[in-house]
C-alpha cells in the first residue's frame, strides 16, 4: 500500500487494532457497524469472538485485560448494542480496568433525530468510562483510537469508549497511525514525591505494629514482585483486598488473609490495631474498612500510595500521601530501605506477630467438615488442591464469590478475576471466556451460583463455538445465598424473594449446548468429580454441586459496623 492511499473509516478501525497488536475483539454485529464487520472479514490478524449478548462481550474483554498484560477490546452496534454493554462498562470502570469499547452510531446527519437504533452513547456512558469520544470526521478516527488506547492503559486505568457513526466508517481518509498523542490536559504523575517517600520510609522503619494493606492497584501496575520483595525484607504482615488477591503470595505465613466485610479475624484486627498502616493501591472502600468513623477511632499513622490523587483522603484521612505509580514508588521505597541499616525493632515486631498468631488461632474460616451435605468451602478447597493453586479463577457475585476468595489461595497476581467494585452478577462465565482466550493453555474455572450463572448463561453457546474448555463450578444452594444470609441476619429470617424456584436441570442444559454436565450431591464425590472435569482438557464442563443451603459466609462485619465487630459464626446470631 502506498503511503497516501486512502482507506475507509472501517478499514482504518481495523488497521488501528492491528497497530495496537490487538489479537481478539469480542463483539456482536448490527446495522451501524456493518462496514467495520466487513473490514474485519477481509483480514485475519484481528480475530473476532462472537458472543451471544453484548454484556458478555464487554465482560469477556474486561477479563482479557484483568488476566493479562493486553487490553481487551469490544465492538458493539448502536442503540440496544450499547445499552446491553452498559453493565459491562460500569463493571470495568469501578475496578479501573483498561479496555477499549468501539460502538457504532447512526450516521452523523441522523444524530439527534431519534433515528432507528439511536441512543446518546456518549451521554449514557459518560459517568462510567474514564473517557469517551464521538468521532465525527474520518480524518480524526485513527488519532482518536490511538488516544483511546493510551488513556485506557495509562495513569489510573479504565475503559475508554469510541463512538463511530456509520457514515464515518464509509468515508475515506489517508491512514496514519500517530506514534504519540500528546495531550496537554492529560499527564498522569508516575514518580512519587521524594520527600514524601523519605517520610514514609522513616515511618515504616520505626513501626512497632506495622501492617501492609494492598488493593487492586498493585495488580494493575504489575508490581506484585515489588510487593513480595518489600513484605519479605521487612517481615511485616500483609493483607490483600478482594481486588488485590494474589499480589502477595497467600501461601506465606505473612499473608493474614483478606480484610473487610468477609475478611479474616486476624486481618481485620491487625488493620485496627496496627500503629503504621501502609496502604498501597487500595482505596479504603466501605467493604474493606467498615464504618469509617469507627476505623478512624483507632490511632495509627497511615501511608497511602496511589496513582489517583482523588483516592487519597477520600474516606480516611492519611498522614503521608504519596501520589504515583505504585510500582515506581515501591521500587524507591525498597531502594531507600536497602540504603540504610535501620530496621524496625525486632522485639516489637515479634510481639506483634505473637498477637497476630493468637488472632489467627481463632481459625475464623473453620467450617463443619463432617457434614453430610456438600459444604461450598470444601468444593473450593478441593479445586485449589486439584489445580495445584495455579488455575485462573473467575467468580460471580454472592456467597460463592467470598468462599472462592477465602479458600482458593492465590499465590500469583491476575489469577483471581471478579467484579469487586460494582458486584455484577453474571460476570463469571464471560470472564472465564475472556481469560481462556488470553490464556488458551491455562486451566480456567468459574466458581458461580445457580442465580448468577443464569444472568449470562447464553454464553455457554459461545464456549461451544470457540471450544473454550472452561470449567464451571456451580455452588447450587437453591437460594440467592448472599441475599438470604443478609435476610437471616438483619431481617428476622424473612426470606423475601431470595429462593429460586424452577431451576433448570443444569446437566441437561449443559448437554444441550454440547458440553459435559455433571451433578454432584455427596461430599465424597466432590474431589473425584473435579479431577475428572479437569482431565477433560478440551471440553467445557458444567459441574452442578448441590450444596448446603443454610451455609453462611463467616466472618461477617455487618454494613455500618466497625471492623472489629465481627460475627464469627451462626452460633453468634
Amino acid at each position: 500500500m502506498s503511503a497516501n492511499e486512502e482507506l475507509t473509516g472501517a478499514e482504518i478501525v481495523v488497521r488501528c487494532l492491528q497497530e495496537e497488536n490487538v489479537e481478539h475483539v469480542f463483539g456482536y454485529p448490527g446495522g451501524a457497524v456493518l462496514y467495520i464487520y466487513d473490514a474485519l472479514f477481509n483480514q485475519d490478524r484481528v480475530k473476532h469472538i462472537l458472543v451471544r449478548h453484548e454484556q458478555g462481550a464487554v465482560h469477556a474483554a474486561d477479563a482479557y485485560s484483568r488476566s493479562s498484560d493486553r487490553i481487551g477490546v469490544c465492538l458493539v452496534t448502536s442503540g440496544p448494542g450499547v445499552t446491553n454493554a452498559v453493565t459491562g462498562i460500569a463493571t470495568a470502570y469501578l475496578d479501573s480496568i483498561p479496555m477499549v469499547i468501539l460502538t457504532g452510531q447512526v450516521p452523523t446527519h441522523a444524530i439527534g433525530l431519534d433515528a432507528f437504533q439511536e441512543c446518546d452513547t456518549v451521554g449514557i456512558t459518560r459517568p462510567i468510562v474514564k473517557h469517551n469520544f464521538l468521532v465525527k470526521d474520518v480524518r480524526e478516527l485513527a488519532a482518536t483510537i490511538r488516544k483511546a488506547f493510551y488513556i485506557a492503559r495509562t495513569g489510573r486505568p479504565g475503559p475508554v469508549l469510541v463512538d463511530i457513526p456509520k457514515d464515518v466508517t464509509a468515508k475515506k481518509a489517508v491512514f496514519q497511525y500517530p506514534a504519540e498523542v500528546p495531550m496537554r490536559s492529560y499527564n498522569p504523575v508516575l514518580k512519587g514525591h521524594t520527600g514524601q517517600i523519605k517520610k514514609a520510609v522513616q515511618m515504616i522503619l520505626s513501626a512497632r505494629r506495622p501492617m501492609i494493606y494492598t488493593g487492586g492497584g498493585v495488580i494493575l501496575s504489575d508490581s506484585s514482585r515489588e510487593l513480595n520483595e518489600l513484605v519479605d525484607m521487612l517481615g511485616f504482615p500483609c493483607t490483600n483486598t478482594l481486588m488485590g488477591l494474589g499480589a502477595y503470595k497467600a501461601s506465606d505465613r505473612k499473608f493474614v488473609g483478606m480484610p473487610g466485610m468477609h475478611g479474616t479475624y486476624e486481618a481485620n484486627l491487625a488493620m485496627q490495631n496496627c500503629d503504621v498502616l501502609v496502604a498501597i493501591g487500595a482505596r479504603f472502600d466501605d467493604r474493606v474498612i467498615g464504618n469509617p468513623a469507627d476505623f478512624a477511632k483507632h490511632q495509627r499513622q497511615i501511608i497511602h500510595i496511589d496513582i489517583d490523587p482523588s483516592s487519597i483522603s477520600k474516606r480516611v484521612k492519611v498522614d503521608v500521601p504519596i501520589v504515583g505509580d505504585v510500582k515506581e514508588v515501591m521500587i524507591e521505597v525498597i531502594r531507600q530501605i536497602r540504603a540504610t541499616d535501620v530496621r524496625p525493632d525486632p522485639r516489637a515486631l515479634a510481639d506483634w506477630w505473637k498477637q497476630i498468631e493468637e488472632w489467627r488461632s481463632r481459625d475464623c474460616l473453620k467450617y463443619d467438615r463432617s457434614s453430610e451435605k456438600i459444604k461450598p468451602q470444601y468444593v473450593v478447597e478441593k479445586l485449589w488442591e486439584a489445580t495445584g493453586g495455579d488455575a485462573f479463577i473467575t467468580s460471580d457475585v454472592g456467597q460463592h464469590q467470598m468462599w472462592a476468595a477465602q479458600f482458593y489461595r492465590f499465590d500469583k497476581p491476575r489469577r483471581w478475576i471478579n467484579s469487586g467494585g460494582l458486584g455484577t452478577m453474571g460476570v463469571g462465565l464471560p470472564y472465564a471466556m475472556g481469560v481462556q482466550m488470553a490464556h488458551p493453555q491455562a486451566t480456567v474455572a468459574c466458581i458461580t451460583g445457580e442465580a448468577s450463572i443464569q444472568m449470562c448463561l447464553q454464553e455457554l453457546s459461545t464456549c461451544k463455538q470457540y471450544r473454550l474448555p472452561v470449567k464451571v463450578l456451580n455452588l447450587n444452594n437453591g437460594y440467592l445465598g448472599m441475599v438470604r444470609q443478609w435476610q437471616q441476619i438483619e431481617y428476622g429470617s424473612r426470606y423475601s424473594e431470595s429462593y429460586i424456584e424452577a431451576l433448570p436441570d443444569f446437566v441437561k442444559l449443559a448437554e444441550s449446548y454440547g458440553h459435559i454436565g455433571m451433578q454432584i450431591t455427596r461430599p465424597a464425590d466432590v474431589e473425584g468429580a473435579i479431577r475428572e472435569a479437569l482431565s477433560r482438557k478440551d471440553r467445557t464442563v458444567f459441574m452442578d454441586f448441590l450444596t448446603d443451603p443454610a451455609e453462611n459466609v463467616w466472618p461477617m462485619v455487618q454494613a455500618g459496623k466497625g471492623l472489629t465487630q465481627m460475627l464469627l459464626g451462626s452460633e453468634e446470631l
Partner: protein, 163 residues
C-alpha cells in the same frame, strides 16, 4: 465555605457536560457556572461557584483534574482575586417611579440599556453582594424579570491561570 473554582478546559463538545455531570453524580453543589472560549479558541474558561467543606472542595478539585479534557484548575478563593457578575433587570417604570428607578441605577452604577414608556432594562455589573443589594434596594413589586450570568473570576496581580 463558598469557593470560586476556575477551570481551563479543552473547548470540545461535551466538556461542559462532563463537568456538570461530575458535580451532580457526586452530589457537589453548583451555585453558578459560567463558561466561554478564551483568546485561544481551543480553550474554554469556566468559573464555578460552589459551597462545601475543605474536604469536599479538595475532592472537587481532584476530580476536576481527573477529567481528561480539563487542563488546569485553581481555587481562586485561596488567594486574592476579583469576581464580577452581570445582571439585567427589567422593571416597571411609570409615573414617579420612573425617575426613582433611574436614580437607583445611577447609585449602583448601572446603565439603562433599553427603554419603553412603561419599562426600563438596567444593566449592572459587580460582585454578588452588590447585585443582591440592588435587588433589595428597589421595590420588588416593580421587577418584571432578572437575568444573571453567574460569577466570573480572575486572580489579582501576577496570579495567572494559563496553559
Amino acid at each position: 465555605m463558598r469557593h470560586i473554582i476556575s477551570i481551563l478546559l479543552e473547548n470540545e463538545a461535551g466538556a461542559l457536560s462532563r463537568v456538570a455531570g461530575l458535580f451532580s453524580a457526586r452530589g457537589y453543589n453548583i451555585e453558578t457556572l459560567t463558561v466561554a472560549p478564551t483568546e485561544d479558541a481551543s480553550l474554554s474558561r469556566m468559573t464555578i461557584v460552589t459551597v462545601g467543606s475543605d474536604d469536599v472542595i479538595e475532592q472537587i478539585t481532584k476530580h476536576l483534574n481527573r477529567l481528561i479534557e480539563v487542563v488546569k484548575v485553581v481555587d481562586l478563593s485561596e488567594g486574592s482575586h476579583i469576581e464580577r457578575e452581570l445582571m439585567l433587570v427589567k422593571v416597571r417604570a411609570t409615573g414617579k417611579e420612573r425617575e426613582e428607578m433611574k436614580r437607583m441605577a445611577e447609585i449602583f452604577r448601572g446603565r439603562v440599556i433599553d427603554v419603553t414608556d412603561k419599562t426600563y432594562t438596567i444593566e449592572l455589573t459587580g460582585d454578588v453582594a452588590k447585585l443582591d443589594a440592588f435587588i433589595e434596594a428597589i421595590d420588588r413589586a416593580l421587577i418584571l424579570e432578572t437575568v444573571r450570568t453567574g460569577v466570573s473570576g480572575i486572580g489579582r496581580g501576577e496570579r495567572v491561570l494559563k496553559v
